[in-house]
Symmetry: C2
Subunit: 376 residues, 2 copies
């Protein structure tokens, strides 16, 4: 019996959007699906069992953070990430590459702003063909991350879907350097896959397609990676500086991607982008935006985001959304939420996070229905 | 039908401890009972509905904080505190006096340390026979708190049990000043009661017995207050500098208190003190200690407190307590909790708070059984 399967239920007549199902050892993911980010093996401000009750099917954890705290050996000893955090639903981990290269080149946002002038803070000690050496921000110890060690770490963590180690080149890179980086990424992804295939442990591996906003390189990446035995694909690397660049790159890339594989979009945030790019055929996408927005007092609703701390909400005794069935809306008024935020009460962060995750789950349910109905 | 009643079920043969029931418009409180503090109308890190599921019967809210945020008019408009925070169980509010006089004289802890030398920070503008004028730390507006306005605020809040306005004299006060303060407190409590009796609104009012650690003054306070139509009594004012002083004062005071009324101990913290003073006949006592300890990584157990962040807990895959039925212990290991605290995840604070409140609820259940069995 296969531990991983992707099934397309319906292809829209209007776009490349499709409704499908991803089968994993920890259950089904109905696609297209929003994937919440729980960096440290925890969705911020909500405990695992409560997260499960929201109906969120896939959760994204970050290998870089888990290596540093609690350490992958602790997670292995606990019996894997599902047992460690007590989650019976699917989990995906990344390779750690994105975070390490953010340390080296600065975060994506900063880097775009600073035109590539931001220097490394010395945390990353060495980058070569073998991999990366960096210092733990927790205890100062040297950590070696290679394609093989990243996959081994992800084996110990034991998520349902894992990701090969890749290099994240800075956005402000000339084409030759980008090409060199792409070639290395491909060698690293191949090494990651080889390491993975030695002992699959019921995990699926999604390749990461790179190439920045250069169509030739994206095609080269697709050509290289689709020839290997990956279970699915994800789209990574630089998405450009504007939404238009991102949209054009995704359109180009998804058109060339074999349709029978699930496709994950790495780290895409706002609802506007989601609505633009999902019709291109994205099956899953992860984002910390809904939970981060919640903690900043922004509640997502069908009529647009609601600023919880806005003065008028002090006496708004309705829930965030009248027809919302989430724990927060069933039990509390905007007025009380407004008060909790004003009084810096932690439960406000929990309640707004629950609402926003529930909103995304419901939003994607509706979205799937619309695809089934060929409206999208 | 009476909205408030106190019923004694059993008096211990071994001490003055008793098991009883307090009936309120929002349900029964089994006594002796631990009262959790939810200053802003929220137990820190746990939402109201989750708090109710823990079985905590009485919750303490602070009028001073609620006056400043969200304002008592908002709570009244919401239909009262129970509706505002969505709690179907009993609530008690204080008068605001304690906080205002802490502003004037410094907090109890600081004041004990500083030998009365701490000066006011200018927040309190005026203290006279009428009441107190202070500035809101939120918007700088002047707020007048008198016996009448405190009771009116507590009427708008609408808790099941309310407390008359009193003066909290500094610990380092000579006997003459203490006597003067006591007389004023008595006049203020009488004015509070008069204001309350104009329109009871199904609320009960507990007097606050003062007198510091001076037995003569405590007796004077008892004599004055027990002649008035209060529904119960609470013990306030200075408890002295040592546990021994507190114990002796409470023993003296409780011996003189009419036994047919419920007696509340204001703000007593640790389990050691609780075990010492409950046998004197305390029926309810409030403390922020269990939730504060939880947020600082201290889990209460039958074998003593457990430091969640202790190194050895990193790989302790048992729950905090094996036989504990709380949400935290049913679902998560100490190892995961340790990780959540190390990774500064908010859900760690929620889970440890749930455990500690549940511990207190169970602790008091056991305590009542022991009284029924004349073991205490």
């Amino acid at each position: 019996m296969s531990y991983f399967k992707f099934e397309i239920i319906h292809k829209s007549k209007k776009s490349n959007a499709r409704v499908g199902r991803i089968f994993t050892p920890h259950g089904v993911i109905d696609t297209p699906s929003f994937v919440a980010v729980g960096t440290n093996g925890a969705i911020k401000a909500i405990d695992s069992k409560l997260v499960s009750s929201i109906g969120l099917q896939l959760m994204f954890c970050n290998t870089y953070h888990l290596i540093l705290q609690p350490g992958v050996d602790v997670i292995e000893k606990a019996g894997g990430i599902h047992k460690f955090i007590n989650r019976d639903l699917p989990i995906i981990t990344d390779s750690g590459g994105f975070q390490v290269f953010s340390l080296a080149y600065g975060s994506v946002a900063n880097e775009l702003k600073n035109k590539g002038t931001k220097k490394t803070d010395g945390t990353v000690l060495k980058i070569n063909e073998d991999g990366v050496v960096f210092r733990s921000y927790r205890d100062g110890k040297k950590v070696v991350l290679t394609p093989e060690s990243s996959v081994q770490a992800q084996k110990k963590i034991g998520a349902d879907i894992i990701i090969p180690f890749d290099e994240l080149p800075p956005f402000h890179t000339d084409i030759e350097k980008l090409k060199k980086s792409l070639d290395r990424t491909h060698r690293w992804e191949k090494r990651s896959l080889d390491e993975h295939l030695k002992d699959k442990k019921n995990q699926a591996m999604y390749a990461v397609i790179h190439g920045g906003i250069n169509e030739e390189l994206r095609k080269e990446s697709l050509d290289f990676l689709t020839k290997l035995a990956f279970d699915g694909f994800s789209i990574g690397g630089s998405f450009g500086k504007t939404k238009e660049q991102m949209f054009n790159m995704l359109k180009f890339t998804l058109n060339l991607l074999p349709k029978e594989f699930p496709c994950h979009l790495l780290g895409i945030a706002d609802l506007v982008s989601i609505n633009q790019v999902l019709p291109l055929g994205i099956d899953t996408f992860d984002s910390s935006y809904p939970t981060k927005a919640a903690r900043h007092g922004l509640a997502l609703t069908k009529k647009g985001p609601v600023k919880i701390m806005k003065g008028e909400n002090a006496t708004n005794f309705s829930p965030i959304e009248n027809d919302c069935s989430c724990w927060c809306c069933r039990h509390y008024s905007l007025s009380y939420l407004h008060h909790l935020f004003k009084a810096s009460e932690l439960s406000g962060l929990t309640l707004s996070s629950i609402h926003n995750l529930h909103f995304m789950v419901e939003y994607m349910k509706d979205y799937r229905l619309k695809i089934l109905d060929d409206q999208i």
